[in-house]
Symmetry: C2
Subunit: 405 residues, 2 copies
């Protein structure tokens, strides 16, 4: 089947239509939910603070009693202990976070009083609710505080915990099966003699597997290295598809080898739907997508840089959209180009760049190494610059947006 190099966005749109990610959800304790994807909207069951409370260490007082207070006019108050002021001549000691006693409506800080005998002198006038955190000022009961699709962060857990929420409904792990095809690929344990024997030590599959493992909501299942044999590839792919939500195959990018992998995938399911045979991206042109039994199969290049870029802008991009994840896949920042760079018309070009501080700005320098197999270019880059398929390129001095890796 001939390559047609479909635009990435078009391919993803079709893929979202034709595939299903039946992830399912599970109830979990807060601490185990970190990094997972929330599967429900969360509403605050109570106000936070649940009552007016002191924002400082000091004395709860009637604000009216302090109206004329100043260093030259210290106002004396009797210090009592209890849950209510009997009169506005009294003050009750409170620590930060404590409930404001009845009758009081402000808290005077320790540094604004002079202690004397069993009383205090207030030397500062306080407005109503001075140093008081009002009931519901942080969160109102009934307020939506988190949405389905959010990746759960530490601050979510803190908020849920303070609200007495102890269980969360989260999406189960997305299971991603990964296998590397290509008779020429050897495991690193084989050693550098591999190269003398015409073999290539794997780097693509470990790059893919370890990049996926950064996301806690993804579980990577590794199916190892598969020879360039249509039956063998079909068998492994079939098993991996049964056991996972998504399948990624790397390698076999030469036209003949990829045909083999491609045919093997099609042979599994007579209703397989080819979403894209090649994508309009560089590097990563051979990236292909097939839906088999409603599950997406991604055929990535065997070259590490091409596969890495396709993993990010195609596979992870798809996953974020399919799960409606409410978070950007990349932090994007504006930076100044230090060099001219051209794309290729008709293809989205992904340029590895190094972003660094320059004077009061960020600058970005393309890492200029040709060939998608070059690993050091990725090691020295910290961001991706996209030159869209209808843009010729960028000039030195242009302000561009880059995606931080």
């Amino acid at each position: 089947m001939k390559y047609d190099y479909k635009p990435i966005d078009e391919a993803l749109k079709t893929l979202l239509e034709y595939s299903r990610l039946d992830i399912g959800y599970v109830e979990t304790d807060l601490i185990d939910a970190i990094g997972m994807v929330l599967a429900e909207d969360i509403y605050a069951p109570i106000d936070l603070p649940p009552f007016d409370r002191s924002a400082v260490d000091g004395y709860a007082v009637c604000s009216d009693a302090t109206t004329s207070a100043s260093p030259s006019n210290p106002i004396p108050l009797k210090v009592v202990v209890g849950e209510a002021l009997a009169s506005c001549d009294e003050a009750i000691p409170v620590a930060t976070g404590q409930r404001i006693p009845k009758g009081a409506d402000a808290v005077v800080m320790l540094e604004d009083v002079i202690r004397k005998d069993n009383g205090i002198y207030v030397i500062k006038s306080l407005p109503k609710y001075a140093n008081v955190s009002r009931k519901g000022e942080d969160v109102k009961a009934g307020e939506k505080i988190a949405s389905k699709g959010e990746i759960i962060k530490p601050i979510h857990l803190a908020l849920f915990s303070a609200l007495g929420i102890t269980k969360l409904r989260i999406f189960k792990h997305v299971h991603v099966g990964v296998a590397a095809t290509g008779s020429e690929i050897a495991e690193p344990a084989y050693g550098v003699r591999a190269y003398d024997e015409g073999l290539i030590l794997d780097s693509t599959s470990i790059l893919i597997r370890s990049t996926l493992s950064k996301y806690r909501f993804i579980k990577v299942n590794w199916y190892g290295f598969v020879k360039d044999d249509e039956n063998e590839i079909a068998n492994i792919a079939k098993m991996a598809l049964d056991e996972n939500n998504i399948l990624i195959l790397t390698g076999g990018t030469g036209p003949s080898e990829q045909d083999k992998t491609f045919r093997a995938i099609l042979s599994i399911d007579s209703n397989a739907k080819v979403i894209a045979r090649g994508l309009a991206m560089r590097p990563g042109r051979p990236t292909s997508i097939v839906v088999v039994k409603s599950k997406p199969v991604f055929l990535l290049s065997g070259f590490p840089v091409a596969a890495y870029i396709a993993l990010n802008v195609v596979v992870l991009n798809f996953l974020f959209r399919a799960l409606n994840i409410k978070e950007e896949l990349f932090i994007e920042v504006p930076a100044q180009m230090t060099k001219r760079i051209s794309g290729s018309i008709g293809y989205d070009s992904f340029i590895r760049v190094k972003v660094f501080k320059c004077d009061e700005d960020l600058c970005t320098e393309p890492i200029m190494i040709h060939g998608s197999g070059v690993l050091k270019s990725l090691l020295h880059s910290n961001a991706l610059l996209v030159i869209p398929k209808n843009v010729e390129g960028f000039d030195k001095g242009d302000r561009v947006w880059v995606k931080m890796l």
Copy 2:
């Protein structure tokens, strides 16, 4: 002991002098090293590519034979199979990544040939080494490719793997003990009735624990909630110190309660060294640091926002320096202030801000909620703005650097 509010940098410098992080190292397989800290420098054992290889699918040829080739002057070559060209009339098919046969010094791409009978016509002139990845062009044998102190990323593994490196020496996990002090703190499972009983549901400790757990090289050990009892705190702290490299205690920030925690820590070791009793930071002023048996003990505020900021700019900052980690703790980006904001002279102020795209730039808006106990301010912020202790504040329109969270 009175608070002295030491500048953060001064405190960290003293702490680095007086404490020891004896982490030790371990040998590990590549895939298990992701996110850990490299404990050795790594040098390339071989060139990469290990030989001249084809960067495209095509035919290996003598470049000299193509000097006059053009669509109007196609040069005929005989296609042969083997490891060497017998003469420059010949061409050998090669796939991307394959070794360049002897005698050849360039590769003509498939689209630049016309196939005919058992030969090809080259229609494009090729310079020497056209479409050839030269031996060592990516990495030279003996070159340093990674340094002790780097956090191991997927691309490291890809490069190591391609070089036949299968084992890495990494630092063991940094064990961080965490306990929450304060008789007023209840576990979330206790439910919201806690608030009616004058208790507070925990949010600080889960925030600290889950934030630490983002770092794969950190192992969090949780010692639970401890009552405000000097002996009990001392016992837990002693045990936790024996079992960890670092101890974090949250809570007891009221002057009286923190004294209790502070005294408990000093009681463990008669040679305990107080590094800082309070730091010149806001929020987070009560943050204190003591070295006990050469190990750092951090006393953080019981208030979640104050504790979270101190965790980042004090505890993690210390850890990154102590391990000589060659990576910034935060991505820093420049952004335009949308509002005036003031700091407090004498204190580094940490302002929670929201960074967002505005036209062709990033803008940053302070999340204006007073009180360090306010959780929603953290949920809606995605960065920290530091107003250094000798700076009054920033004006609307000022360009500031913010730390992405």
